[in-house]
């Protein structure tokens, strides 16, 4: 993780010192300390964080329909949320940028379609669809209380 962040920071230093400062000051220590404190995080976490960092390289109109660049704060929120919710055996999510500069992570596996768009640390859009009998589909905006989302990820993890 540290090496990846350093590499990224070195690349960005040529382009944007402000962003590099932000990465080193906020992002890198947070991820590194969390990872070192808890060895139960999944093996894919490092890859996923690096995928998120790559989104910072997207230029305006990356989707050919006028998309905005990805907001670094959105990546920070997303990493925080992932770290707080996933377990060692949670499947690897797909992480994708959204046209409005945010980040979405999603799973389409084990009969579950779970999509999470992180808008802010206290506002997350969630869509849950489950093909298994007895499980209801739901869409909602979660604010502060993410227990419903935690339950969904737990189901995804144990199934």
């Amino acid at each position: 993780m540290e090496a990846a962040i350093e590499t990224f920071g070195a690349r960005m230093a040529l382009q944007n010192n402000e962003l590099r400062t932000w990465l080193i000051k906020i992002f890198e220590p947070k991820v590194r300390s969390t990872l070192s404190q808890n060895s139960e995080y999944p093996a894919w976490l490092k890859t996923t964080v690096n995928q998120l960092i790559e989104f910072l390289y997207l230029e305006e109109n990356w989707d050919t329909y006028g998309a905005s660049t990805t907001d670094p704060a959105s990546i920070e929120f997303t990493v925080e949320l992932i770290l707080s919710l996933v377990k060692q055996n949670t499947p690897q999510p797909w992480v994708v940028p959204t046209p409005n500069g945010r980040v979405q992570f999603e799973w389409h596996t084990r009969g579950i379609d779970l999509e999470i768009e992180v808008i802010s640390p206290t506002l997350v859009n969630v869509s849950y669809e489950d093909s298994k009998e007895g499980f209801d589909d739901w869409d909602c905006e979660l604010t502060n209380d993410f227990s419903k989302l935690a339950t969904a990820i737990r189901e995804l993890t144990v199934r």
């Binding site: 990846a4 490092k46 890859t47 690096n50 995928q51 790559e54 989104f55 990356w62 989707d63 050919t64 329909y65 006028g66 998309a67 905005s68 690897q92 797909w94 992480v95 994708v96 940028p97 959204t98 046209p99 409005n100 500069g101 979405q104 999603e106 389409h108 596996t109 084990r110 009969g111 579950i112 379609d113 999509e115 859009n125 869509s127 093909s131 869409d139």
Partner: protein, 145 residues
């Protein structure tokens, strides 16, 4: 925003609506539940300025003797996905022609953005990513360390 639009009945339910999908690991996903590669729902969202999602309309392309693939003219490194107007309407979306000087077949899909994103699950490829491009996407996903 939606108050200024009216669904166009001249666009029939079986009319195809085309959407460009960038050939990047972050825009095309493998759906285990459907056992296929498809666009992410993030590819079916409104414009950041709040205007509705752009598409090109099959019948409008045909009127100009153009092919679906012409939706990619001037855009390198994109695949092309399609849903029908009927599928959009089933998601309570309006389908509206909105001709542009640079794209006479341009239209918009107007309605709740969350429901719009679910169209990605039903989207089919018109110009499919090559196997080599999909392998590259999978490799980058697994090995980006």
């Amino acid at each position: 925003m939606t108050n200024t639009y009216t669904d166009d009945p001249d666009i029939l339910n079986d009319d195809c609506l085309y959407r460009r999908i960038p050939l990047k690991p972050s825009h095309i996903i493998f759906d285990d539940n459907q056992d296929r590669w498809r666009p992410t729902s993030a590819s079916f969202k409104d414009h950041p300025d709040g205007t509705p999602m752009s598409i090109t309309i099959q019948s409008e392309l045909e009127e100009d003797n153009r092919l679906p693939e012409n939706s990619l003219d001037g855009y390198d490194d994109c695949a092309l996905a399609s849903v029908t107007a009927g599928q959009a309407r089933e998601r309570n979306q309006m389908v509206v022609k909105e001709r542009l000087p640079e794209e006479p077949a341009h239209g918009v899909v107007v309605g709740n953005e969350k429901k719009k994103g679910k169209l990605a699950k039903e989207a089919v490829w018109v110009v499919r990513p090559t196997e080599a491009e999909l392998e590259k996407i999978e490799l980058e996903r697994k090995q980006r360390n």
